[in-house]
Symmetry: C2
Subunit: 367 residues, 2 copies
């Protein structure tokens, strides 16, 4: 088992990563003071609940925990105010009190939803993350929790740190391949913004990662979480540094906004975005290899590196404007300056971004 | 103009109390760094908007602020998730950004609703309170914000401190008499838990307070806010001390829960609750005058001191149980030990509370 600490003063918390941790949940909960007297609630989604909810409930109950569970539909649509309300209703009906804990068993959707419920219920109760996707290594660190509004993603939320994060590598074995690749996009991002050595390691171990080799996966998640934890502990409330975590996300979010339902996963969208950002970096003076390595990484991971030709550039650009607010043709943009290093450019030219989007539409993804 | 500071480290903020402050809003906003570049949103209710929204908008606009307003229906029903959603929708449509401010212009309902919207929007933006009821001297200090769930009051919320509180005594002149008395109940509470001298002052000045004499009202709100501020700054997140603010609220909330719509205001319910608590205090050894003074105060304020005979004791007790969770016939209860002093009894006998409720049903309110 690997362990690391997200260092946030009196809100610090540990992340445990290892095989079979689901079967040690009761022990780890007890170690971190989860109350046996107050009911705890597990939030899960339909896919995850099928395989993992029963065993978790059983193991907690046999240790004496009072558990109640709510299973929400799988997918982004569960990050809504109405599903949030149903989670709160369940909590009330089950009699959760100020000493209760809400447990998120699932990917980023369940983590964000359950986390926001924990932040809001009685103005904040304890929260535990049991992430079951690779992508959730990102969402489970940093305490950002939220639901969506029809007009904007993640607009209704809070900062609410978990008590512990419990990452059971075994649960990842059932992840669909596309979700594996999508999650790896964020792992790669954590390398690209912070750690050139980790980027090389990823390149060398891509095949193992894609085949879900537990040892490699454990190390990659440990490193990914560590980078995020370091950035977040230096800037919990996103005053400044934390913005580097948005590498590839300005273009990526715009692509997600214009894509049809299910056309692009988050990881696919930001992979394309990171390739675009690398292009811009090189344009602005970074060494050519920044672009080459970035592109190669995503191709070897089976992720797209270009924008499908039928996407409309105007639509992409106006989605970006809604998201980011250009001021006089300028915007904030995260730009790579070397492998493992990025800069926040507060004065990025919208024209340059537009040209890059155009170029990405010519990319075929052939290595 | 009176000024006091709620001392909460880097979340400290000032409360301004005076006549005509609404006309100085732009100046005070500017002093506290409210951005001219980002739109700000005023949340108000129908009664308040009628008289005060226009002038506030005009004064902010003429100073160069971009303002947008939303008016919600008057009354507790606006503290719902669906009204909250409509506030968020309005904020999105108006393009509020991370540097925007949400302004609550109204009583405790608008303060709690707008405050929760400010806490949640983009995970927290700036918030200003312009309270227009006496009761809101209580709700505008301390940062508790929330909306209700059909099954429980204030269950969905956050701690979110305002940037400033701006109390214009002139706005109180239009308050219906019943709201005046209801608000004074919380002023009296702040005396009873903390400051015997203030209690005497209230007794002597009750007639002036009831006639909304600005000088007396200004002093009373200043003192009421000061007590609350002191308690809150010692215990922002209600670990312990802050619970003394619940004097009269255990019985009071139960009465509100069983009362028919509009039958009892919050102030009326807690006035009865405080008389009950004083009875219990005396029973447990406090001097007789604790009960006598408490009762006399509320009678002279025109507030009820007994429970209407048709209220069912069993219903009141089970509402209390839902709210507070007796454990083996015991509960947490705030008990006066002298005028200006209370204790938190973590082991109060439910039987004693029940007997007190029965006795309150015999009270007639004749001095
Ligand atoms: N809070 C943050 O800081 C943060 C950061 C990044 C992303 N996010 C959010 O995370 C969400 C995306 O997370 P995600 O990619 O994990 O999505 P997700 O939770 O929807 O999971 C993806 C899919 O995999 C399924 N699944 C999950 N675990 C599984 C398992 N072990 N076996 C089989 N199937 C499984 C799910 O049912 C779902 O269909 C987005 O809403 C995004 O906004 C939040
Ligand atoms: N957050 C906290 O710490 C805290 C503390 C105490 C109470 N509260 C909350 O406060 C709410 C009660 O507050 P309230 O009593 O101010 O209720 P309110 O906001 O509903 O106002 C009472 C009535 O007076 C009207 N009104 C307001 N200002 C007026 C004015 N200047 N002239 C004429 N009419 C006016 C309103 O439209 C309403 O009909 C409750 O929801 C309670 O839960 C919160
Ligand atoms: Zn992301
Ligand atoms: Zn009250």
């Amino acid at each position: 088992m690997r362990e690391l600490t997200v260092d946030l003063g009196d809100r610090s918390y540990p992340i445990y990563i290892g095989e079979g941790l689901l079967h040690r949940a009761a022990e780890l909960f007890a170690k971190h003071g989860v109350s046996l007297k107050s009911p705890l609630m597990i939030v899960s989604d339909a896919n995850v609940a099928d395989t993992y909810l029963g065993p978790l409930e059983e193991q907690l109950r046999s240790a004496g925990y009072l558990t109640v569970s709510i299973t929400v539909p799988s997918g982004e649509s569960s990050k809504s105010l109405s599903v949030f309300e149903s989670v709160i209703t369940k909590a009330l009906e089950a009699g959760l009190d100020r000493h209760s804990t809400i447990v998120a068993l699932g990917g980023g959707v369940v983590g964000d939803l359950a986390g926001y419920a924990a932040a809001a219920y009685m103005r904040g109760i304890r929260f535990i993350q049991i992430p079951t996707t690779i992508l959730a290594h990102d969402s489970s660190v940093g305490g950002k929790v939220a639901v969506n509004h029809p007009l904007a993603k993640n607009i209704i939320g809070a900062f609410h740190q978990p008590e512990i994060v419990l990452y059971d590598l075994q649960t990842l074995q059932t992840l669909p391949g596309r979700e594996v690749r999508s999650g790896l996009a964020e792992v790669i991002k954590h390398g690209l913004i912070w750690d050139a050595g980790f980027v090389s390691w990823i390149e060398e171990n891509m095949a193992k990662l894609l085949s879900l080799d537990p040892e490699s996966l454990g190390y990659a998640l440990y490193k990914g979480c560590s980078v995020k934890a370091e950035v977040v502990s230096k800037d919990e409330r996103e005053q400044d540094l934390r913005a580097i975590l948005n590498l590839g996300h300005t273009i990526g979010h715009a692509l997600e906004a214009v894509a049809g339902y299910g056309e692009l996963t988050h990881g696919e969208a930001i992979a394309i975005g990171m390739v675009g950002s690398a292009r811009i970096g090189v344009e602005l003076g970074a060494p050519e290899e920044v672009y080459e390595v970035t592109r190669r990484l995503f191709i070897s991971c089976g992720l797209p590196v270009g924008i499908p030709a039928h996407y409309d550039t105007d639509a992409i650009m106006s989605a970006m404007m809604r998201d980011k607010k250009f001021k006089e043709g300028r915007m904030v943009f995260v730009v790579p300056t070397a492998i493992g290093r990025v800069e926040i450019d507060k004065n990025m030219s919208a024209d340059l971004v537009r040209r890059t989007v155009e170029q990405l539409k010519g990319e075929t993804g052939q290595a």
